[in-house]
């Protein structure tokens, strides 16, 4: 058995969610960590896998998200949970959020993903999820490795920080 030597500057992140809001934390942390000379591995599984598709059309819903409020006219407007059940509402809240992101100089997920790849963040896509949701390798961006739980565990055992998002 090989010994697991932990690199003090290393991090792994399991990415399980693929909505516009949940897509940010893993990519922000991964790119910033890489900029601070941390060796980063991201493991994309279940809905997180969607963040690796060539064409992203990420969405955010008010449904199941009672904490969501949008800045409006100097105040904040609570977004009723049930609003998300109406047809077209998820597209509306998603484009509102994307407008805000642009206006406030926040990077897009596409930009952060590109930055992650350019800074040598290791990206592993869960092969089981690929099969389960019938994704093909050509649906995904280049530079992705395909592996499973054992691939993740090998990395996690050597990483100083292991996050699940």
């Amino acid at each position: 058995m090989t010994e697991n030597i932990i690199n003090p500057k290393s991090m792994s992140i399991i990415v399980t969610k693929g909505t516009l809001d949940w897509g940010y934390p893993p990519f922000i942390l991964a790119t910033t960590a890489a900029a601070m000379d941390v060796e980063v591995t991201m493991f994309f599984t279940f809905y997180g896998l969607g963040l690796l598709k060539k064409d992203l059309n990420l969405k955010v819903s008010t449904l199941g998200n009672p904490a969501m409020e949008m800045p409006m006219g100097g105040g904040h407007m609570q977004m009723p949970n049930l609003l998300g059940a109406l047809p077209g509402m998820t597209d509306l809240t998603s484009s509102m959020m994307k407008d805000m992101i642009k206006k406030k100089g926040v990077a897009s997920i596409e930009e952060l993903r590109e930055a992650a790849i350019l800074s040598d963040v290791r990206i592993i896509a869960c092969q089981m999820t690929m099969d389960l949701f019938e994704y093909k390798h050509e649906d995904m961006i280049d530079g992705v490795e395909y592996g499973g739980a054992a691939s993740y565990m090998e990395t996690a055992l050597k990483s100083h920080i292991n996050l699940y998002i």
Partner: protein
Amino acid sequence: MADQLLDAKGLNCPLPILKTKKMLQTLEAGQVLEVLATDPGSVKDFAAFCRTTGNEIVEQSEGDGVFKFLIKKSA
């Protein structure tokens, strides 16, 4: 006097840090990068970035909502 200027005004976390890292890679050790940012979080973030990466903030100031950092690249 800085050797390079990075205008990160209007950009939000983590872009100023990512662009700083990229530009530092083009500098020689001992050279100085001037960064301009408007993100109020950048004050704490640049300090943390430099402490972690070994680069040095040699000067720092603020005026008209713009934060200026002079960062000396370590060896």
